[in-house]
Symmetry: none
Subunit: 214 residues, 4 copies
Amino acid sequence: MPTDTDRLSALPRPQPRKKKLSREEKAQLTLRNLLEAAAAIVGEHGYAATTIANVTREAGVAHGTFYNYFEDRQALFDVLLPYVGERMTDYITASLAGVGGGLEREVARFRAYCGYLRVNPGFYRILYEAEVFAPKAFDAHIERLTEGYVRAFRRAIAAGDCYEMGDEELRAIAGILLGARAYVAMQFKDTGVIPETAIAAYESLMKQGLFKAK
Amino acid sequence: MPTDTDRLSALPRPQPRKKKLSREEKAQLTLRNLLEAAAAIVGEHGYAATTIANVTREAGVAHGTFYNYFEDRQALFDVLLPYVGERMTDYITASLAGVGGGLEREVARFRAYCGYLRVNPGFYRILYEAEVFAPKAFDAHIERLTEGYVRAFRRAIAAGDCYEMGDEELRAIAGILLGARAYVAMQFKDTGVIPETAIAAYESLMKQGLFKAK
Amino acid sequence: MPTDTDRLSALPRPQPRKKKLSREEKAQLTLRNLLEAAAAIVGEHGYAATTIANVTREAGVAHGTFYNYFEDRQALFDVLLPYVGERMTDYITASLAGVGGGLEREVARFRAYCGYLRVNPGFYRILYEAEVFAPKAFDAHIERLTEGYVRAFRRAIAAGDCYEMGDEELRAIAGILLGARAYVAMQFKDTGVIPETAIAAYESLMKQGLFKAK
Amino acid sequence: MPTDTDRLSALPRPQPRKKKLSREEKAQLTLRNLLEAAAAIVGEHGYAATTIANVTREAGVAHGTFYNYFEDRQALFDVLLPYVGERMTDYITASLAGVGGGLEREVARFRAYCGYLRVNPGFYRILYEAEVFAPKAFDAHIERLTEGYVRAFRRAIAAGDCYEMGDEELRAIAGILLGARAYVAMQFKDTGVIPETAIAAYESLMKQGLFKAK
DNA sequence: GATGAATGAGTGTTCATTCAT
DNA sequence: CATGAATGAACACTCATTCAT
């Protein structure tokens, strides 16, 4: 069954200018419609409220068509976070182009994440409910971000911007920063406003810690 | 309907000297049984798998008895996190008795939290799935912890252990620390081992931040 | 079990002026409260919505107390229409005191029925839903009214006011008049207004029939 | 949801010449089966005893299939009386073909109604319990019959067979006749025998009224 | 006789999944 | 491949009735 993540990266490809879509192109379009429908519904109402009937109705296809693209409902859930998660990291990567290193870059990353959430508020539910409804995808997502963080830290250490640490510690730090990000996002999920005080507090913590040396 | 949190705190009451339990005492016991059963099931299998039939079977009462104590399933969910959350904070408070202030105390708090999770692994799911299944209880729990953190920081600032900050920043910091705690817990939820490297990384972050001053 | 109709007629008896009620008086009061509560609930929401819990709550007694007065829910239903039906016929009988005979009296009866319904709108549901929920009581009520009608017709015939008819025909006529009454009541159950055109039409029908002789 | 009455009239459609039923034809057949099953059960045991499980078992379909055709149980109830009511009026209309006008026609109508009930004894419960379980359908049914009556009276008046009356009075008369019909039906619902005395009494009432002019 | 907690059978409704067309 | 009707297991919730206190 064609539910692997691999297939996702080959998905939409800005359609050429032909009018008639080939059979495979139509299939890709249907898959895309299903995923976008699922993203919209999960983002707004959560995984639990995301029924096959809802998704197919939103996607404009027949109920049974769903099962031509996904083994079952869980397969959709397992693939949804990778699908939207990639867009999120792409956005952040793009936002960081040209930004310096060390603290400045980390704060920019934090800010970019907040900005993404403001424009894509549904991403919050897709991500954080995934821990319950698509735990494997959630773990993979976290693992992917953690590894990205570790690489970034390695570069920052090499550049002398960051304190020396071993890989295990770096992974722990990455987890801490991801958690920080998540909870700050949670706090402003209702308002939708980027919380400047939170960003300032985050920056201060990154820069000097919380407690004075004795 | 008797599902308010208030009633919970009045729950067990070391029984008076009668052998036979009075009607009210038996009712309190039944409520306790239902809550403990729910905590066990949610902790192990999550809210979604927590059916009324499961809970009542585990509690040793009839199916319908559930509805003498809770308006509906959601009412149970709404009350479960307060019920177990109070035990968690009590445990941490007790663990901190006699511990000094500032960094040392914060690290001890982090360690105590990890220790509580190791002994009560179910708490993790009860807490973190609550964001999905009992959002109000979740928000209230976070708010309670945040306020506790802000008070602790205020004391640390007064003692000169902690950098000066306004209330808004303190709340942001509290959120960051709660998030850090959550994600570290998540990372070792499967192994159940206290992650000493994570504690060391946490301590280092609290002490000096992550990035060197230029 | 004490649910027979006989007991009803011995019910409340304007209480004497004693302060302390004797045991039996208290029991009679409770029975009365249960019946009035049931009448209020059935009248407003129908038999189907009339649960034991509702009735006892409205009557201000414990749930289990119900079963000291009625064998089961059906026993209450079986006794409710006799209870309120007697009040209705008493009212109509009183309204007819001093009214002449023949057509005039029948029209006054019709009018009195409409008047009773306006003041006791709940009676409509208690009566007409009884066909479904308390069929025996309903049949008995209809039989009682039918017999009353037959006696009245006999008197009218004896007085020369009414065409001659045998008992079977009189019973049929009684049914027709009861049905007419019911449907007219139904038509104005929402408005609550006495429908003068309907009364006029009824009178005309009683007086000359509907179709001209050829 | 396809529960509108409109769809009902389009139901059976003498099947085209295919042997295999098309998908839509099978769906129509399923809907028919559900309605006939419901009519049988409601007619025999009443709405209250009509469970989804009963209906689907009788119709020979799976429990869940019911919800492909009706939003919920109430939607079935709301559509049942229109479904059978149309058959009843068709029968009566057919019975009146060639019958004269005025009194003769009205008596024939009454007789036809009794005849329909004898052959379709379930109709009685479907109709008269509808006041409780499907009040909107009941009101609509009554309104439809009332309008039919008013039209018939208008014709009779034009033909000089019937006393002059305004529309409001005609509606009242229609209600009276419907009520009469209902109560007479009720009186012989158990025996199933057409009550010739009742028909004679009805005719006499229509012809000359009940009370002699003074 | 009053109380109200406990009981459990019964029912409506949902929805993922299948499969004939 | 697309369709959408059929399926049936599951589940939440109700409520009349019982009975120990």
